[in-house]
Amino acid sequence: MTKLEQWMSTLLVLMLIWLCLVQDLLNLGYSKKFHDVILPLPVYLLVTAGSYALGTLGLRLANFNDCEEAAQELFMQIQEAQADLASKGLIL
């Protein structure tokens, strides 16, 4: 089973449970407060997933390991290589 199929089946099961609760198909007879909380849950899941993605993005952005000296060194090596190849006749 692929990852997509796993995710889709989990979402399908959650969606069916939510539908059952919202339509009260099991005739559990719960209070209005319960219904008020259950109803927006899919949108709540979306917002949670979105804010998790945004937060992870921000964390990774802040902790990204820029190697300044290695970048400079690489740049120098690229210049050297270009000069070397140009002297040997290869035009880039």
Binding site: P40, L54, G55, G58, R60, N65
Partner: protein, 84 residues
């Protein structure tokens, strides 16, 4: 070490997403269990907006992504295209 701007933007994003998550959690899950004459209800919009605002924002996001893709695709057309 990421650059100073990267760190600021990164942590700003984290704080922003935390604020959104906490506000939305209180709005959707905690408020229905608080009596309607408690003062905290003053800080939250009517609960219909808890569904309308994320859905509208999601639609706007999709619109923006679609427009961006359109823009990039239009910009990268090969110029020597002969149409009949």
């Amino acid at each position: 070490m990421a650059t100073r701007t990267d760190q600021v933007v990164g942590f700003g994003l984290v704080v922003f997403s935390l604020v959104i998550f906490i506000y939305y959690t209180i709005w959707v899950i905690i408020l229905p269990f608080i009596d309607s004459d408690h003062i905290i209800h003053k800080y939250f919009l009517p609960r219909e907006y808890a569904i309308i605002i994320p859905l509208a924002a999601g639609l706007f996001l999709l619109l923006f992504v679609g427009l961006f893709i359109t823009y990039v695709m239009l910009k990268n057309r090969k110029p020597a295209k002969k149409t009949n």
